[in-house]
Symmetry: C2
Subunit: 210 residues, 2 copies
Amino acid sequence: MQSSETLSTQEKIKAAAREVFIKKGYVAAKTRHIADVAGINLALLNYYFRSKEKLFHIIIMETLAELFDTFEAIIKNPETSIPDKVRLMVTAYLDTLVVQPDIPLFIINEVNRNPKLVIQDLKINERIQSEHFIQQWSVFAAKNGIPTQHFIHILVNTVSMTVFPFLAKPVLSEVFGIKDRDFVDFVIQRKQFIPTWFDVIVQSYKQKPL
Amino acid sequence: MQSSETLSTQEKIKAAAREVFIKKGYVAAKTRHIADVAGINLALLNYYFRSKEKLFHIIIMETLAELFDTFEAIIKNPETSIPDKVRLMVTAYLDTLVVQPDIPLFIINEVNRNPKLVIQDLKINERIQSEHFIQQWSVFAAKNGIPTQHFIHILVNTVSMTVFPFLAKPVLSEVFGIKDRDFVDFVIQRKQFIPTWFDVIVQSYKQKPL
DNA sequence: AAATTTTTTAATCATTTGTTTAATTTTTTT
DNA sequence: AAAAAAATTAAACAAATGATTAAAAAATTT
């Protein structure tokens, strides 16, 4: 076990690569910058990881894996209701993103740059398609009068409301004067609000179907 | 007046630059690629626009200006109610984005890369702060029991639900099998749904305040 | 038609950037 | 301690890239 001051060279490079790639994106990230941040000689990057591309692949895969681990654990839990799962999901992701606010733009950029990446190397389809969750949603939807095709809309709404503020952060900052500290408060408020809005949208189907 | 086949060299460069910058982003866009798409000699790009940076600045400013023209026109219209404005806004932007789906990621990337750009060169603050709109929202919020601080949340929700699907398009495509044609249908459905969800969220404040 | 200006082109420059090489230092094994 | 292996470094390479230059071609003005 190593202390945080005595990371191995490999670990220093990975930590620096994670920081730089997530902040700048693949194209704008430069190997010399990563080497500087890691405090190592440039050649060591290729010595340990062969190429920028290969190093990047490791970083984005680890980042995506962490996010999907959370997702998978929550939707596959047989103990929680659908609204519980939404609340857990929103809370988990907002807690993560508050301390790593650059992750959404990073992921979205790289998935757009290479869409096959997601489905090929990670086997997301298998991981997302949980029998339990599909079944649970069907029951929930039926009980609330929600048409099957609306699953994707409601899912997109929830993810949108959770993730989009991090993409729009500079706009909120410059146009609405929401500085870093205010932004954290703003996001913390949404941990409560978003699950409520989810409920409100769901309830609306019972009252008057769209 | 020139026909579309006989654009001036300047116009050909701008059209190509718009296409390439929006598709690739500033860093990944290469001047030689822009020149190729425009069908002109590379040196002409610098002859007419001095530098890649200056050309880019023109493109992003024009793109932002178009989007804000729409926004300004809608919120400053004294004839329409708040729900009307939401509906008009959602419809206008979804219609635009269906034919130019790469714009959201382009804007978000470049605003994140240089946040000052938005507030400095465009004077967005002045344009957004409409006395009429602020007044109208105050009345609307009071009538529906919406706390003042929730304005920003509800605005962010509406924009999130409208814009985010275009950022997540490859995920929807690869993970949920929503191909190009399906995506257009999906977005068209949301032209109706999002204003309804806005109403639903607003209504929820009357019934039981958060 | 001649002169002048504008536009276009091919070639080149200077810098950046990902990667490699060969030598040196450090660590591990014998 | 000697030998072998692993890690590190400085230097350099090759390709890509934004920009410039000087000459040629085209258009405009005189």
